[in-house]
């Protein structure tokens, strides 16, 4: 598979030969060759040289051409503040400083720095036919924020119609840019809309959904694939983002990768992310970057996942950290070696949880920071506290505050990664989300039913064939055995059959040796384990078998 085929196959949820790797090289491409961020983003030659250098060093399957969410805004007349080591920042918002929307036009191929990016795309396309090229456009809501500033949040109440008109204009801009980039040779258009992390799903559906859906439809019509990038705390919107029908959703480390995996794959959308930018890629060592990449790859799985950093790579990301990631992506042996090292380091501390959850009671563990200091933790503990009495002693709950070391070890041993989390009998059930009462009741009831099923399945019958050698002929014994075996075979059941021929043992069954051949059947059932049952309870069991 070529890199391009690999990325496109992952986006279509098809099988790939290995995880596709797409480092979001933005201004970091300039850093590799010693250009400042502003030099890099103002020259198509430097962009081409920097991205090409990144391709050679990081051997990616896909790569963005330019990661700069101010390209469109600049053409609208937003002022930019340039920097040496980051993309520029928008410092003025035309619609909040008296400019009317009808005075601003959808950018053409010749406006601002768009021709530079188009030229860079054409050259990179020609030089790298086998790599998936990402054209990045600023998403409609972030564009609207560039135009209106944070007034946009107040206008959601005061003047929603103004936002609607602005979003319509931003949609047209997104479509135009998508068209330009696809024509120049991009395989994928990434709609980068980080500001949507600021709003909830209701506002997303009202203000962003129609625009984003229209943009993704347009990209598909033009024959390209699409990705929806967000960064920040955008977990609440993942469902509604998927409803806009992108081919892929890519997020940063603020959202657990398993969460996005479940939501996206459940809706037929591929997903990507979410290597840690600051603490690992920028400030960590190559081994940290490799571990983080492996962790992402293991959670991401082999279908529909693209390994990428959470957002554009910081200018100063050490080259060796990314080269180290490239190694574990390309070389399974390197990956196994790193994994083995990682296991060795943590295993000393971990508890053996294999028997956890085998007791009769259902154990609910709540992993928290501290329910007194953290509101969500408190609500999670309360939600469990409220339902526990309904099960009249069957459910036992406990809180593990990870500020204590033993709780942290417990959390790691259960492979819990987020706080707060509810585990039922050692299984992670609710992550960073307080379940509704009915949902929690159902989860506990399901576990109780599951335990009952396991218990019933564990019941196993046994048949004792009592044959005293003094009273039974060998022939009778053989015949009895044959009949029992036949009966077992015809019924298709599994029971243990045991021949007892010692007279003392026969007596122990309350049968005289002269009464043999005799058959005694028994049903064995585990009534308790791991604890000494009370006499009153044992009495009830005895009544059962009399």
């Amino acid at each position: 598979m070529t890199g391009k085929e690999r990325v496109l196959a992952a986006m279509k949820l098809q099988q790939v030969d290995r995880t596709p790797w797409v480092p979001f090289v933005g201004v970091h491409g300039g850093k590799i060759l010693g250009f400042s961020a502003s030099e890099f983003l103002k020259s198509s030659d430097k962009m081409v040289a920097g991205v090409q250098a990144a391709i050679e060093r990081y051997q990616p399957d896909g790569i963005p051409v330019a990661f700069d969410l101010q390209i469109e805004a600049e053409t609208f007349g937003c002022e930019l503040n340039w920097s040496d080591d980051t993309p520029p920042a928008v410092t003025s918002h035309p619609l909040s400083s008296g400019v009317s929307l009808d005075k601003i036009s959808v950018p053409t191929r010749d406006d601002g720095r768009i021709p530079l990016v188009l030229q860079a795309t054409r050259e990179l396309r020609q030089a790298n036919p086998d790599i998936a090229l990402y054209g990045l456009i600023t998403g409609p809501f972030t564009l609207a924020l560039h135009l209106m500033g944070t007034d946009i949040f107040m206008k959601m109440f005061d003047a929603p119609e103004e936002i609607a008109a602005t979003m319509e204009f931003c949609t047209a801009t997104c479509n135009a840019l998508s068209e330009y980039y696809i024509e120049a040779g991009c395989d994928i258009v990434a709609v980068v809309d980080p500001m949507t992390s600021q709003i909830g799903p209701d506002q997303f559906k009202e203000f962003v959904g129609p625009s984003a859906s229209a943009v993704f439809d347009f990209i598909h019509e033009k024959g390209a694939m699409s990705s929806f990038f967000v960064c920040g705390h955008a977990e609440q919107n993942l469902h509604v983002m998927c409803d806009c029908k992108p081919d892929n959703v890519s997020v940063d480390e603020n959202i657990p990768l398993d969460t996005i995996k479940d939501i996206c794959l459940g809706r037929g959308v591929s997903f990507g992310g979410n290597m840690q930018l600051t603490t690992v890629l920028l400030l960590g060592k190559p081994i940290d970057a490799q571990r983080n990449a492996i962790e992402c790859m293991e959670i991401g799985g082999e279908k529909g996942f693209i390994l990428a950093p959470g957002c554009d790579l910081p200018f100063d990301t050490p080259v060796e950290n990314l080269e180290a990631v490239t190694k574990v992506v390309h070389d399974p042996y390197e990956r196994d070696a790193i994994k083995a090292m990682a296991v060795e380091e943590v295993s000393q501390d971990l508890l053996d949880m294999s028997d956890y959850g085998q007791s009769d009671k259902v154990i609910v563990d709540i992993i928290t920071l501290d329910s007194e200091a953290c509101a969500p933790c408190q609500y999670m503990v309360e939600s469990v506290k409220q339902i526990a009495p309904e099960f009249e002693g069957i459910v036992e709950w406990r809180e593990h505050k990870i500020k204590y070391r033993e709780s942290l070890v417990f959390m790691t041993s259960l492979m819990v990664r987020n706080i707060p989390t509810i585990c039922i009998d050692g299984q992670i059930r609710f992550v960073s989300r307080i379940p509704a009462r009915d949902e929690l009741l159902k989860a506990v009831r399901d576990r109780i039913l599951e335990k009952m099923r396991i218990k019933i399945a564990r019941r196993r019958g046994r048949m004792y064939l009592l044959c005293s050698p003094d009273h039974c002929s060998q022939e009778d014994t053989k015949k009895l055995r044959a009949n029992v075996d036949k009966a077992v075979a015809e019924l298709g059941v599994e029971i243990d059959v045991k021949l007892i021929s010692d007279d003392k043992d026969i007596l122990a069954f309350g049968v005289l040796p002269k009464q043999t051949p005799a058959v005694v059947s028994a049903k064995y059932r585990t009534r308790s384990s791991h604890h000494v049952p009370e006499a009153s309870i044992v009495k009830e069991w005895i009544k059962d078998i009399l």
Binding site: V90, P160, Q198, T278
Partner: protein
Amino acid sequence: MSSKIPIILITGYLGSGKTTFVNHLLTLPEIARRKVALVINEFGSLGVDGSLVDSARAGKKYEINSGSLFCSCTKLQLVATLQDIAEARPDIMLIEATGIAEPADVLSLISDVPSLAEQFTVQATVGLIDAKNFTKVVAFMAAARRQAESVDGLVVNKTDLVSPAQLQQLRVLLGEMNPRAPQISVTQGGVSMDWLNSLQPISAMDTRRCDRPPVNIFSASIQTGRPVNRQAFMKTLADYSENMLRLKGNVDFGDGPVFVELAGGDFLTKPAVNIKGADSGTALAVIAWNMDKKKLTAAFEKTFSNQSA
């Protein structure tokens, strides 16, 4: 090893008065006589009065104004800037965070990066609350909500622009959102050093991941082509007066639409305005809290008459 540099982190969305507040802090004698490092991370703001910073003894202003919209870039610049500042060894550092900053993210960054954790300690996080517009913004902007929920002290600013009833409702809301944080009502950001010193910081670890809003604040839109029963409508307003933070829009009580607004506890009516996208006489936007959204919309729906307009 010298002691750690205390940080005061100032949050609030654009327009809440952060810059005025910072300017005010710089004039406080307890700060002005110390060596101050000021980190500004806001886009489009008017900027802190440079002369005030300069007059603070050997103070220095650092601006993080690139990539401020996008969380990761901001964090990275902040790390680099704080590393620079650590070398300059100021007595105190003020950070004016961007309006969309997550205080927990900034604090966890300081605790997660060992070189920063060794040098700095968070004295307090302060949230500027714009008394006039906070209830309008909080329903829509996640950062405004999380800032109010997680800071150590809440400065309710611009109180001269609201009625006593509005201010009281806002204080109750903030008390529910962040029961731990003392509130102070001011104009022009005017707080004392004693108040700042009285704040009890919670550690970054404790605020991290506490991003689930415990108080339910929501917006709802109510539209109908049917006339609205005035008496029933007014009763709904009275029944949920504690819950409704904002309401405005057109209502048709059977004799053509009028514009209604709930402001500072008063119900006002004016001639109707043209509301685009609303195909009928009644189109209202409501911001409410501490109740179920469906219950509120159902309550309004009960005020619609059975006949069409």
